[in-house]
C-alpha cells in the first residue's frame, strides 16, 4: 500500500512538472494550490496525533513541532498565489534546496549506520541542491528557471518511484 502511495505521488509530481513546463503561468497556480492543501492537511493530522498520542511519549514534542511547521508552511504557500512569479519560484527553490540538504544529512546518517542505500540518497540530495543553485543563478530568466525546476521535479519523482520498489529491512520478531 505504501509503495502504491509513493508511486502515485511520484506520478503526480511528474504531472505537475509537465504542466509547469508547458504552461508556466497556470502551472504555478496549480502546483501552489496542491502544495498548500497538502501541507495544511498534513499539519492538522500531525497536531491531532500530538495531542492524542505523541505528547505522552518520550521525545513526542517532535510531532508538535512538525505539525506547527507543516501548518505554517501550508498557510504561507497558500498566500503566495497573488505574488509575482519571481517570489513563487524563489520559494519553491528554497523548499527544493532544503530537501536536498536533508537528503544529504540523511545519507550521512545512513552511511554511519552501515546502510547500503546511502549512495542513492546522497546522489539525490546533491542533484536536488545543484538544481536549486542553477535555478537561483537563472532566477531572472524565468523560462529557463522553470524548465530547470521542472526537470528537477521529474528527477525527484523518478527517484521516489524507484525507491518504492526497493527492498526494505524489517527486523523479524521471534
Amino acid at each position: 500500500m505504501h509503495r502504491i502511495k509513493e508511486i502515485i505521488s511520484g506520478l503526480f509530481m511528474i504531472l505537475g512538472a509537465a504542466i509547469m513546463i508547458s504552461d508556466p503561468q497556470y502551472g504555478y497556480m496549480f502546483v501552489i494550490l496542491v502544495l498548500a492543501l497538502l501541507l495544511i492537511v498534513l499539519g492538522i493530522k500531525r497536531l491531532f496525533y500530538y495531542f492524542t498520542m505523541a505528547r505522552f511519549m518520550v521525545d513526542g514534542k517532535e510531532s508538535l513541532y512538525k505539525g506547527v511547521l507543516l501548518l505554517d508552511f501550508g498557510a504561507l504557500t497558500g498566500s503566495l498565489t497573488d505574488v509575482p512569479q519571481f517570489y513563487v519560484l524563489a520559494y519553491l527553490i528554497a523548499i527544493h534546496a532544503f530537501t536536498g540538504l536533508v537528503e544529504i544529512l540523511r545519507a550521512r546518517e545512513a552511511r554511519s549506520q552501515g546502510a547500503k542505500m546511502w549512495r542513492m540518497k546522497m546522489l539525490h540530495g546533491i542533484i536536488d541542491l545543484v538544481m536549486a543553485v542553477i535555478c537561483i543563478i537563472f532566477i531572472n530568466e524565468e523560462s529557463i528557471a522553470v524548465l530547470i525546476y521542472g526537470i528537477g521535479l521529474i528527477y525527484s519523482a523518478i527517484i521516489k518511484i524507484s525507491m518504492a520498489f526497493r527492498k526494505t529491512k524489517f527486523v523479524y520478531i521471534q
Partner: protein, 360 residues
C-alpha cells in the same frame, strides 16, 4: 526468543516436567512451529489461513496499516508473541486512543498467561507447545506491544548494554544500524534494528523491532528509555527473565499433565532445576547469537535420547494426505492456534479495545 529456547529449552523443560522423550519432542516442535506457521505455509498445505501464528517478512511488507490491516497484525502478534500484561491497565489523563495501545504492552504473569495455560489443559500436545511459546515470549518481549505503535514501541538513543566485567559490571552504549543482511556484532554491542519511522502505525514500529534482536538474546542485559514510560529507564535482565520463563514452563507443564491441581502465576519450579542451575545459568549468560547447541546437549543429557533437529516439513505430508486432518499433528496444532487466538482476541475485544477487531 529463538529456536534455542522455543525448541531445545522447551524440550528440556518438558522432560523436567515429567513428559516422555516423544511427548517432549512434540511439545518442543509445536512451540517452535509458532514462529513458522505463516499464511504462506498454511496455503501451501491447504490449511485454514486464520490459524496463522506469525507473518513472514514479505507478508509484513505487504501488510496494510489501515484499521483492518492493523487488526490482522494485532491478532497474530498480540496473541502469540506479545501477550498483553493487563488489558485494563490504568494511566491517568490518557485518551482511549492511547490507552488501547498502552494496554497491549506485553509482560509476564498477567491474567492472560493463566488463561492461556488453562486453555491448553486436556488438549492434545501441540496446544501445550503453543502455550509454552506464548508464556516464554511474555518474558522475552516484556515492555513491547504486539501492534504497530510509535508511542509505545519506539526507543531512543539512550540504550546501554550492561556488560559483566572482572570487577563487576559496566555499561556500554549500544550502536544500532539498519544494514540489511548484516549480522549483529556482539563483542562491540553493534546491533541491527528497524529504521525510525515517525508514522504511528508503521510496520517498523511493531513489537521490539526498534530494539533489534536484543530481547531474543538470553545473555543480553540492557538499560533503555522506552517511549511509554514517562522518561523512566527500564532495565531488562534477560538471563534472569529466561530462567524464570524456564521454571514457569516446567510449572505450567506439570499442571497440564495433571501433576498439579492448578496453575497460578508468579509460581516457579526452582527446586526442580536446582541440580542443573549452574549449567542453565552458564548457557543463558554465554554471549552467542544462538544457544541451540548448548541447550540440545543439555536436553540430550537429561533424557539420554537424541533430539532431532527441527524440520519445518516434518508433519506436512501427514497433514496433506490425511482424510481426518484433525487427528494429525498439524491439524491439532491448527485447532490449538485458532482456539488460542480466539481466546486472546475475545479478551481484548471484551476489554473495550477494538485493536484486535470484533469477536462475536
Amino acid at each position: 526468543m529463538q529456536e534455542d529456547f522455543h525448541y531445545y529449552a522447551t524440550y528440556a523443560a518438558a522432560i523436567l516436567a515429567g513428559y516422555t522423550h516423544k511427548e517432549s519432542l512434540d511439545i518442543a516442535y509445536s512451540a517452535q512451529f509458532v514462529d513458522l506457521c505463516s499464511r504462506t505455509l498454511l496455503s501451501k498445505i491447504k490449511a485454514p489461513l486464520k490459524a496463522a501464528t506469525t507473518q513472514l517478512q514479505l507478508e509484513m511488507m505487504d501488510a496494510r496499516t489501515d484499521i483492518a490491516g492493523l487488526q490482522d497484525i494485532t491478532r497474530i502478534w498480540a496473541s502469540f508473541h506479545f501477550l498483553p500484561l493487563d488489558l485494563y491497565a490504568v494511566k491517568e489523563k490518557r485518551p482511549k486512543r492511547y490507552m488501547n495501545k498502552y494496554r497491549l504492552i506485553c509482560g509476564p504473569n498477567g491474567e492472560l498467561v493463566k488463561k492461556t495455560v488453562d486453555l491448553a489443559k486436556d488438549k492434545p500436545l501441540p496446544s501445550t507447545g503453543i502455550a509454552m511459546h506464548v508464556l516464554a515470549d511474555t518474558w522475552a518481549h516484556s515492555y513491547f506491544a504486539g501492534t504497530p505503535s510509535l508511542v509505545i514501541n519506539n526507543t531512543t538513543d539512550e540504550f546501554y548494554e550492561i556488560i559483566t566485567t572482572e570487577t563487576g559490571s559496566a555499561e556500554r552504549k549500544m550502536q544500532f544500524r539498519h544494514n540489511p543482511g548484516a549480522d549483529d556484532i556482539l563483542d562491540e554491542s553493534i546491533y541491527t534494528n528497524s529504521i525510525y519511522q515517525g508514522s504511528e502505525n508503521s510496520i517498523m514500529n511493531l513489537g521490539h523491532a526498534r530494539a533489534g534482536h536484543l530481547p531474543d538474546y538470553s545473555f543480553a542485559r540492557y538499560r533503555y528509555l522506552p517511549a511509554w514510560n514517562d522518561y523512566k529507564d527500564v532495565i531488562k535482565d534477560n538471563p534472569s527473565d529466561y530462567l524464570n520463563a524456564f521454571c514457569q514452563m516446567i510449572r505450567a507443564m506439570r499442571f497440564l499433565r495433571s501433576d498439579l491441581p492448578v496453575f497460578e502465576t508468579h509460581e516457579y519450579d526452582y527446586d526442580i532445576i536446582k541440580p542443573y542451575e549452574d549449567r542453565i545459568r552458564t548457557i543463558l549468560t554465554k554471549r552467542q547469537p544462538i544457544a541451540s547447541g548448548d541447550w540440545k546437549a543439555f536436553g540430550q543429557e537429561l533424557s539420554s535420547e537424541s533430539i532431532d533437529d527441527f524440520d519445518i516439513n516434518r508433519y506436512q505430508d501427514e497433514y496433506l494426505s490425511a482424510v481426518d486432518k484433525n487427528s494429525t499433528f498439524l491439524g491439532q496444532f491448527i485447532n490449538g492456534s485458532i482456539a488460542h487466538k480466539g481466546m486472546v482476541c475475545r479478551q481484548i475485544f471484551e476489554s473495550g479495545n477494538m485493536l484486535a477487531g470484533f469477536v462475536g
